[in-house]
Structure formats: C-alpha cells, structure tokens
C-alpha cells in the first residue's frame, strides 16, 4: 500500500492525511472513532483526577458525592479494556499497526503523568505486550483483508514500511518486557504470566513475514544472477 501520492514533494501533510495513513487505520471514519474513544477516556480520566485534586471550600470534590467512586469503577473497567482487549478489536476491525500499539499505552501513560512516576510497572508491561501483539495482528489483518487468505505473506506483496515498523515496535516492546522480567519479584511475574502467551502472536506473524520476505529477496537475487551471467 503506497502513500506516496498523498505525500507529494513540497506538500505539507494535513491532519486529514495523517488520519488516513495506513499505519493508523484503513478507514478514516474508523480511525476517527478510535481516536475519539481515546479522547473520551482521557476526559473521564481528567474528571476523576480533578475529583481528588480540585478542592472546593477546602475539601476535594470527591468528598461531596460518592459518584466519584462510580466514576473510578467505570474508569478502571474502561482502562483495563483499553489495555487488554480493545487493541485487538481495533486491529482486526481497522488495521493500523501504530494506533493498535499506542492504544493500550494511552491509559498507562495518563496514570504515569498523573502520578508523576515514569516507571515500568505491571500495567505498563501488559500494555506493551498487548500493544506488540495487536500491532502485528493489525498488519496481518490488513493483508488478510486484501487477499482473502489466512497466509497472506505467500501471495501479497509485503509492504516493507509496515513490516519494518511492526518489527521495530515488537522489538522495543520485547526489550521492555525482558527488562521487567529480569528484575520483577515473583508476585509481579505471576500477575504478568497470563499475558506472556500473547507473545506467540507477534512472534508468529513477524516471523512468517520475514521468512517470506527473505525467500522473495533470495528468489529475486537468484533471477538477477541468472541475467548477469
């Protein structure tokens, strides 16, 4: 999938161009829905945060009504869904490896900002794991949709940019998780353990794509050699 025509020389990309970039999503409308959802989550987060920090007459807002507890319940449920499930739903629904990767990191990042701690905790490594898996799944889903086969790398021309971006993303996430696994105490590893099986997804998909890419390159080079001789 090429975007060269949209990024012609001397033309600045507009917001619209960015929203239509295939690394974010295949259909602009769906990409917009996902981004609106993340903005909505951010807004809820801001309200909940204000509840504990904004004081009216010396008392924080959340002491005025127990509705803030309801909001906390809702926010934890939404944040958990955004960290664990929604990235996969989005990847299958609209492709977009980069947005699929970023989605679970958004709530974690909001929490880090609010707490003023930049730390690789359990929530963060779960988000990295889900992000890496959803990122690879997004590339796979895009190609499956294009060729209608569950082994798209055998027929589709592999998009080098997207394979490279997905590979880099998966490597970065893997490095983060490896650092965490090396030092985390047993209780934290136990909490992470169920999510570790998700690594099969990026490993399988990225592995299959690279294998196909190398095979194609070797075949092409073989052709060239024949022509030269």
């Amino acid at each position: 999938m090429s975007t060269d025509d949209r990024y012609g020389f001397g033309r600045r990309p507009t917001v619209g161009d960015v929203l239509e970039h295939p690394l974010l999503g295949l259909e602009r409308g769906r990409t917009e829905i996902a981004i609106a959802g993340l903005l909505g989550l951010t807004a809820l987060f801001a309200v909940s945060y204000a509840g504990s920090t904004v004081a009216v007459g010396g008392a924080p807002l959340e002491t005025l009504t127990t509705q803030f507890d309801t909001l906390t319940k809702l926010l934890i449920a939404l944040a958990t869904a955004t960290i664990t499930i929604l990235p996969f739903v989005y990847a299958v629904w609209n492709g977009g490896p980069l947005l699929s990767f970023a989605m679970p990191l958004v709530p974690v990042f909001l929490g880090d900002v609010a707490a003023g701690q930049y730390v690789l905790g359990v929530d963060a490594v779960i988000a990295l794991t889900v992000g890496a898996a959803a990122c690879a799944l997004a590339m796979f889903a895009t190609d499956v949709r294009q060729v209608g086969s569950l082994r798209p790398w055998t027929t589709v021309e592999i998009d080098a940019v997207s394979l490279l971006v997905v590979t880099m993303t998966v490597l970065v996430a893997a490095a983060g998780v490896a650092q965490f696994a090396a030092v985390a105490p047993p209780r934290n590893l136990e909490w992470y353990a169920p999510f570790s099986v998700l690594w099969l997804v990026p490993a399988g998909i990225v592995g299959a794509y690279w294998q196909a890419a190398v095979r194609t390159t070797v075949a092409t080079q073989g052709d060239e050699t024949e022509i030269e001789s």
Binding site: T65, D69, I76, G111, G121
Partner: protein
C-alpha cells in the same frame, strides 16, 4: 529496485530508532519480594500502652481500626453512624518524632522508592479522627500500578497524633472491577518493604480486634529506625 546502499541506510536508521526507543522506555521498579524474611523487632515504647489488651474502640488510641465509606451521598462526616466500615487497618507505623518533617511523607517515600504510584485510581475512604470527632478522607495513598489491570498492592494511610494507620491489601485484577484478593499478603508485603528500607518491624504486635477474611486482627507495628 533499491540499491544496496539505500537498504543499508534503512537498516541503520531502523536499528538506531529501535535502540533509541528502547532507551526511552522507563526502568522497571526496584521491588522488594514479598517473601523476604523479616527480622522481628521489639515494639517501640510509643505503642507500649496498647500492646497488652485488644483495642476495641475507634477512640481508644490514635490509631484507627477500620477505614469507612459514607452510607449515602451527603452523609454528615461528624456523625459516626453515617459511615460504614469497609476494611481493617492492618499496619501501624511510628515515624520518628525527632526527625524534622512530615512523618506520613517519610512513610510514603519508602513506597515511592519501590516504584509505587501515589494517588492511583481508587475509591475514596475515610477514617475517624478522635480529636476532631470527624471522618477524614484518606490522607495518603499508593499502589503498585495506577489501575491494577492484573492485580496490585494498594495502601491507604491516615496520620493522627503522630501515629500512621495503614490499610494494606492486594487487589484482584480488574474484572472489570477490583475485589480484595488478600489483606494478609498486603500486610506481608508492607513488612518486607519497610524491613528492606531499614525500618523496625514487629509482627502481630497490636490486637486491633478487626479480623476480616485472611487477616487475623493482629496489626504489625513498623518503627522508623533513626
């Protein structure tokens, strides 16, 4: 067809980008394992008066026995019966009163050094202040993660008359809301963490008569070792 040089350039850029991104990742926290062997200490003189008999009332001592929530919106914080107890206080901390500064903040600093987040996403709870005869909102809180997607250790603290009362628990994963996985493991974790930080830990030191689920009602007393 791309030239070998352009391929090489792409590979170098991708490699450098990946390394940069890895370097930009946060570091994992320096967490203390919960099963660390805690060397038991004597209870400090500050709590001597309260170690012989069970504490059975919220106004008997500066430490509180439970955290509470209002029964309904608009509950009067000065009315004890307008609130209902939710979870037992299971750790009592005694900051050194000769050290300058806020003792409660020194308690929280130990948790921050463990990579815990202050004021995570959590419910608002209260404790009874016997001097002011009113319910006071949680004064300091911290948890291992902001949401506890898959479980987390979580504490709420109040400091009255120089003594810090802490409610420590382990949350279940959010499915989709948290439950209490254990009070006892929360207590154990706090003992391990403060022992590793050089505070003196006396297990099962004060009978707060507030057993609930897997916690036996015997709170630990943790003293700042100056």
């Amino acid at each position: 067809m791309r030239t070998r040089r352009s391929l090489l350039r792409t590979a170098v850029a991708a490699g450098a980008g990946t390394l940069l991104a890895i370097a930009a990742l946060p570091s994992p926290p320096d967490s203390t394992p919960i099963d660390r062997t805690v060397e038991g200490s004597e209870t400090p003189p500050a709590v001597d008066d309260w170690t012989d008999e069970p504490i059975t009332g919220e106004t008997d001592t500066p430490m509180v026995r439970y955290q509470y929530r209002p029964i309904e919106d608009g509950a009067d914080p000065n009315e004890f019966d307008a609130f209902v107890a939710t979870a037992p206080i299971n750790v009592v901390l005694v900051p050194d009163d000769e050290v300058d500064g806020d003792g409660l903040e020194r308690v929280m600093a130990v948790l921050e050094d463990e990579g815990w987040l202050r004021d995570p996403e959590e419910y608002t709870r209260y404790a009874w202040d016997r001097q002011e005869s009113t319910f006071v909102r949680q004064q300091a809180t911290a948890a291992e993660t902001y949401y506890g997607t898959s479980g987390r250790l979580h504490v709420r603290c109040w400091s009255f008359e120089g003594i810090v009362s802490m409610q420590a628990h382990e949350d279940t994963g959010a499915r989709p809301e948290h439950g209490i996985a254990s009070y006892d493991r929360g207590l154990e974790a706090i003992e391990s963490i403060f022992d590793a930080a050089g505070w003196a830990v006396a297990s099962d030191a004060i009978d707060l008569d507030n057993e609930q689920r897997d916690y036996d009602g015997l709170a630990s007393v943790i003293t700042e070792d100056a």
